[in-house]
């Protein structure tokens, strides 16, 4: 992964930084220039809450090369309380247990390594929500 491309995404990958359209209130994750709902260009920065619900999911058995050793792993579309949706792995549980409706917390994890000498790329993954959270 080329460094500039990774570095630009740090705010949304590290802090779940999103943009709330000041025109129509839609929360866009990650931030973009033009609101997909109303085409407005004025936003306020917010950080998404680090939790959400699984909307749909799968378990990857045949992974891309960079993720070879981690397969099988669960992936899900997760919706946060702000109504933003993101795609992430869900870990620290049986992959087959990750099903639509599951509540998750979002934790900071290493997403990928570019081989033995490339940069380390971080982001968030889901983990089963702690009881009572």
């Amino acid at each position: 992964m080329p460094s500039p491309r990774y570095w630009r995404e740090i705010p949304n990958r590290y802090r779940l930084e999103a943009a709330k359209c000041t025109g129509c209130g839609k929360v866009v994750f990650p931030a973009r220039r033009i609101c997909p709902a109303c085409r407005g260009e004025a936003f306020e920065t917010i950080n998404l809450t680090r939790k959400g619900k699984v909307i749909t999911s799968t378990v990857i058995h045949v992974p891309p090369d960079d993720f070879l050793m981690e397969a099988p792993y669960a992936m899900a579309v997760i919706e946060t309380p702000e109504g933003a949706r993101l795609m992430a792995q869900v870990v620290d549980c049986e992959p087959s247990s990750v099903m639509p409706g599951m509540e998750v917390d979002l934790e900071f994890r290493l997403i990928r390594k570019e081989g033995n000498s490339g940069i380390l790329c971080y982001g968030h993954k889901g983990v089963p929500a702690a009881n009572g959270s």
């Binding site: 995404e9 990650p30 997909p36 909307i55 749909t56 999911s57 799968t58 378990v59 990857i60 058995h61 045949v62 992974p63 891309p64 090369d65 960079d66 993720f67 981690e70 792993y73 992936m75 899900a76 579309v77 949706r85 993101l86 795609m87 992430a88 792995q89 992959p95 087959s96 639509p100 997403i111 990928r112 790329c121 982001g123 993954k125």
Partner: protein
């Protein structure tokens, strides 16, 4: 706009074509289409290909392929919309003829997937790199999530998915151009290795080399080339969000519905008028979602269509008589054109054992990514 017809078609076999390069396959298909029409020149060329660059390091395919068919000098351009590249090539050719800009336009689709590229990574470039691929999802993974959403919402089962593969293989077993011209059973599908839950190996279309070409001209010129032209009466193209997370309902392919509506409107016909259709079954779930979005069945009812024979040859609306992407193969850029060729043959009564009786109106639907682009064409036998 002028009326446009297809007057000739040609394609390579689909499969692992070790002895043929990207250019070899193109030349074979292109010349076969010209021969079929009895044409000796073209005015313009469209080359649909997902990624000559990533698969074999070759971009700038327009001039390269014009040269390969001995026609350097003509306008030629590479068009891309991931797995819908072929359909886009067809639509581009259609618009060029319909507008009066050119008379004879060759719409081609090609893909060379087996020359050693990392196919998983290349195909993943059709997904959202920053939001999806970054996190480790694969193409089958995205469709698996669509499948699970469909299962959660409508009770679709793994067996329902298997029936789509079984039906399409039954059709493909009768197609001598198919990569896997053999039947499979539900048990075999359900016993195949898991790729991304719930999708198994035999729910997924294969990795394929191939090329296909169709020659278009104004309808009033068609008789110079064939007694049985096939008119293109509708064309629709629509985009959906690239990231699955941005779709309001992951179980619904809105771009397919929208492109279908556009094409039906232009053609002045509806889903019930279609006699035969080639639909984008890159994964079994895709066929289920597409026949729903196109309106062949009600939303949520697509899951039983294959098992009940609704979409088999002899059923209400035969879908993927060619064997679909599953059995025929899916050389990404070529698929959209190969779909058009199957409908072309059906509407001319040339489909042999796969022939749908009295097929007069046909439809092709070609999709890119996890539904980020969809292009639909409607055809009428003349």
């Amino acid at each position: 706009m002028r009326e446009v017809a297809i007057v000739g078609a040609g394609m390579t076999r689909f499969g692992e074509l070790w002895k043929q390069s990207l250019r070899d396959m193109f030349a074979e298909a292109a010349n076969a289409a010209l021969s079929d029409a009895g044409a000796d020149h073209i005015d313009s060329l469209y080359v649909g290909c997902m990624s000559g660059g990533q698969f074999v390091g070759q971009e700038h395919l327009g001039p390269l392929m014009a040269d390969q068919m001995g026609m350097t000098g003509i306008p030629a351009v590479h068009v891309e919309s991931a797995c819908a590249s072929g359909g886009i090539a067809l639509r581009s050719a259609f618009m060029e003829v319909a507008s009066g800009m050119s008379d004879l336009v060759l719409a081609t689709g090609i893909e060379k997937m087996n020359d050693g590229a990392d196919v998983t990574n290349v195909l993943a470039t059709a997904a959202d790199q920053e939001l999806e691929v970054y996190h480790g999802v694969t193409f089958p993974g995205l469709y698996a999530m669509i499948a699970r959403a469909h299962m959660t919402k409508y009770g679709t089962t793994e067996e329902d998915l298997a029936w789509v593969s079984v039906k399409n293989h039954k059709h493909g077993a009768m197609n001598d151009k198919a990569q896997f011209p053999l039947e499979v059973t539900v048990e075999q599908v359900l016993a195949s290795a898991m790729v991304a839950e719930p999708l198994r190996m035999l729910h997924c279309s294969p990795v394929t080399d191939g090329a296909a070409a169709v020659l278009l001209c104004p309808l009033d010129m068609a008789k110079e080339f064939t007694d049985n032209p096939v008119k293109i009466i509708g064309s629709g193209l629509s985009t959906g969000s690239l990231a699955l997370a941005d779709r309001a309902d992951p179980a619904f392919l809105d771009s397919v519905q929208s492109s279908g509506e556009q094409a039906f409107k232009m053609a002045g016909v509806g889903p019930r008028d279609v006699h035969v259709a080639e639909v984008h079954d890159c994964f079994s779930i895709a066929e289920i979602c597409c026949i729903e979005a196109l309106g062949f069945v009600d939303q949520g009812k697509g899951n039983k269509a294959a098992q009940e024979g609704f979409t088999a040859i002899g059923g209400c609306i035969p879908v993927n008589t060619s064997g679909g992407l599953k059995s025929k193969g899916h050389p990404v850029g070529a698929t959209g054109i190969a779909q058009a060729i199957e409908v072309f043959r059906q509407l001319r009564g040339e489909a042999g054992k796969r022939q749908v009786e009295n097929a007069h109106i046909g439809l092709t639907q070609n999709m890119g990514g996890s539904g980020a682009s969809s292009v639909v064409h409607i055809f009428q036998g003349v």
